[in-house]
Symmetry: C2
Subunit: 375 residues, 2 copies
């Protein structure tokens, strides 16, 4: 049940993406791209090998050359079922032969190539050994915006995934929290995401009380109590595209301080969103959100970047972080998710996926950002 | 629910493994090891990050140096819960700082390092950029036997995983095959593996009729018919250690040719197993199995290597393949799985996990290798 993503793209769509990628590579001074199994390969071909092993699978793209997918002979029948197979040349290699030599025959000997971030180091070393005059850059460094600008079909899929995550939040807020474990709520979130059409759940963070102060805490056995703040951050893939939203709820009435911290984070999220428009640098989104939190005196408790891109993965460029000068382009999609984390006490984070429009931003998550009181 | 593997190892066990790995690296002329999240890191520390992202997590091992785990600040609280945490130094880095500089400070500037096969190319490029005089080899190339020799506790876990896979086969053979889809049988196999204690199912190959002739076919929608050969190849992880076994069953009475092909594969599997003993090169196991099939006239239809190692993964060195001169050492564990694949018709494969003993081999799978007739 592998070989293709459920997203409604045709071989022609993939051909257009591969051509665009090859041209972008040439424009960036690269002799070609080496695309590994994972999100880059899914986006360019719709193909996902059954399992990623030490056996080399790589898509070779270069301007003016037909795309070639190098695959283990054993996996060739699967690759032939990929949606993009009709617009690809398959080059298979058998156990015991050298897959790097097979690939190198397709490459300029002294070229500089972009390679998928998540390609295996073992394979990069194989290319470097086989073509000692070649050089490499990761796709995030060399061509960071390869998948960043979404077309209309992709935006529709991202909006649908966002709506499914919103529906999940609307259901979870009705359920009892006090007396149940974080892991129970996490299971509910996963079930709801699947019920609303997700094929894959990537994370269900339920950070109650002090656990909320660890932004990457997932779920634990802690029993949620009356009076807890609870960070709920969840998402996954629906029809091949990602969702990711965070709301922080409170069990019963919050204290004044809890309400104040939530208000600051909400204002920071609003400021980050308001900064989104074409031509603005990513770091400006981070600065806009961070300034609100710093001005309120909580700067040292906002310990991560403001956002990350989303598409065929739930975590990709562009990053909303100080130092990122990439400018926003209509069609980009990313999270705006400031937070405040008070060690040993509680955390608050509010996150929407936002897409860049012609003159501003549009949220793909639309549940209330007011603090929701749960039971 | 991450941060540690369920395997019953202590911090001292991990310290011993890390010391052994650092010594092996020094013996192999390496200045140290860079260990990425995945099986190497699990085996050395018991630690698995919640999610593997572009954020660098790496264990640095070098002889005479304390082990250091470089982690994103966000993930430090998780890393602190790892079983090996008490015998590790954690070095965290924050978004916006350079994790390669943090790591490079721990490394000899012109050293040669072993790096996990599955480390991200992006991270290897970061090390190469930061330390331009350093060089690298994949662990499979530089230290292929790092995890290959299992200790008694590991062998017990592998034997238990094998017994669970055997129990799965004993149940599946009782179920009806004809009229059901491959995907139904696949689901049954997964359910049974879990019922017998597996926490993770890695693959459930159900190759019926012509689908059996593709060794890497997983499961499809094909309805199994009376008269089909069906290749059943399944496994996963139980208590952190792998299972992997294959039996080929027949729905109703086989033809003479089907029986003959099955007999050849069974004899080849027996010959491969019989070749297992300390001091023999891996390629001799492959040759022993392959010769039986070639002598019977089916050599061109045995299109993969004879076996692969197993441990904390279901697929790792050593490989039983022509050209592999590594000698067998007591405690190594690997598959012996010859097959014959007749395109468009059917396939037969028989696979046991075998461990090397003081004077031969011991099978960790013990269901019958005679052809089983199912309904």
């Amino acid at each position: 049940m592998t070989g293709s993503t459920p997203a409604p793209f045709t071989a022609d769509d993939y051909r257009a993406r591969m051509e665009r990628a090859a041209r972008s590579a040439a424009d960036a001074g690269l002799a070609g791209l080496l695309v590994a199994p994972g999100p880059d390969l899914v986006w360019l071909t719709g193909y996902t090998p059954t399992a990623v092993t030490e056996r080399l699978t790589v898509l070779v793209l270069a301007a003016g050359q037909d795309p070639v997918l190098v695959v283990p002979t054993l996996e060739a029948p699967d690759a032939e079922t990929a949606v993009a197979a009709p617009v690809l040349t398959l080059r298979d290699w058998t156990d015991g032969t050298d897959p790097y030599a097979v690939t190198a025959a397709l490459l300029a000997k002294d070229g500089r190539f972009g390679i998928s971030d998540n390609a295996w180091a073992m394979h990069l070393l194989g290319f470097q050994r086989t073509l000692p005059d070649s050089s490499y850059t990761s796709l995030t460094d060399g061509l960071p915006m390869l998948r960043a600008v979404k077309d209309d079909a992709e935006l529709e899929l991202l909006a649908a995934a966002g709506a499914a995550a919103d529906a999940t939040f609307e259901e979870i807020r009705k359920l009892p929290f006090a007396g149940r474990r974080e892991s129970d709520i996490g299971r509910d979130l996963a079930d709801l995401l699947r019920r609303f059409g997700h094929s894959q759940v990537d994370f269900t963070i339920v950070g109650s009380g002090p656990n909320g102060a660890n932004p990457h805490h997932e779920v634990g056995d802690r029993v949620i109590e009356h009076g807890d703040m609870v960070v709920l951050d969840f998402g996954g893939l629906r029809d091949g595209y990602g969702s990711d939203t965070t709301r922080t709820v409170h069990v019963g009435e919050p204290t004044e301080e809890e309400r104040k911290v939530h208000d600051i984070v909400r204002a920071a999220q609003e400021a980050g969103f308001a900064a989104v428009r074409p031509g603005v640098a990513c770091q400006e989104v981070d600065r806009a959100a961070r300034t609100v939190i710093a001005d309120a005196g909580y700067g040292e408790y906002f310990i991560h970047r403001t956002g990350h891109g989303i598409g065929v993965t739930t975590h990709e460029p562009p990053y909303m972080i100080e130092g990122e000068e990439q400018v926003l382009v209509p069609g980009m999609c990313f999270s705006v998710e400031p937070g405040i984390y008070l060690p040993g006490r509680f955390g608050v984070r509010i996150e929407d996926i936002v897409t860049v429009t012609g003159d501003g931003g549009r949220r793909l998550n639309n549940t209330t950002r007011e603090m929701v009181i749960v039971d």
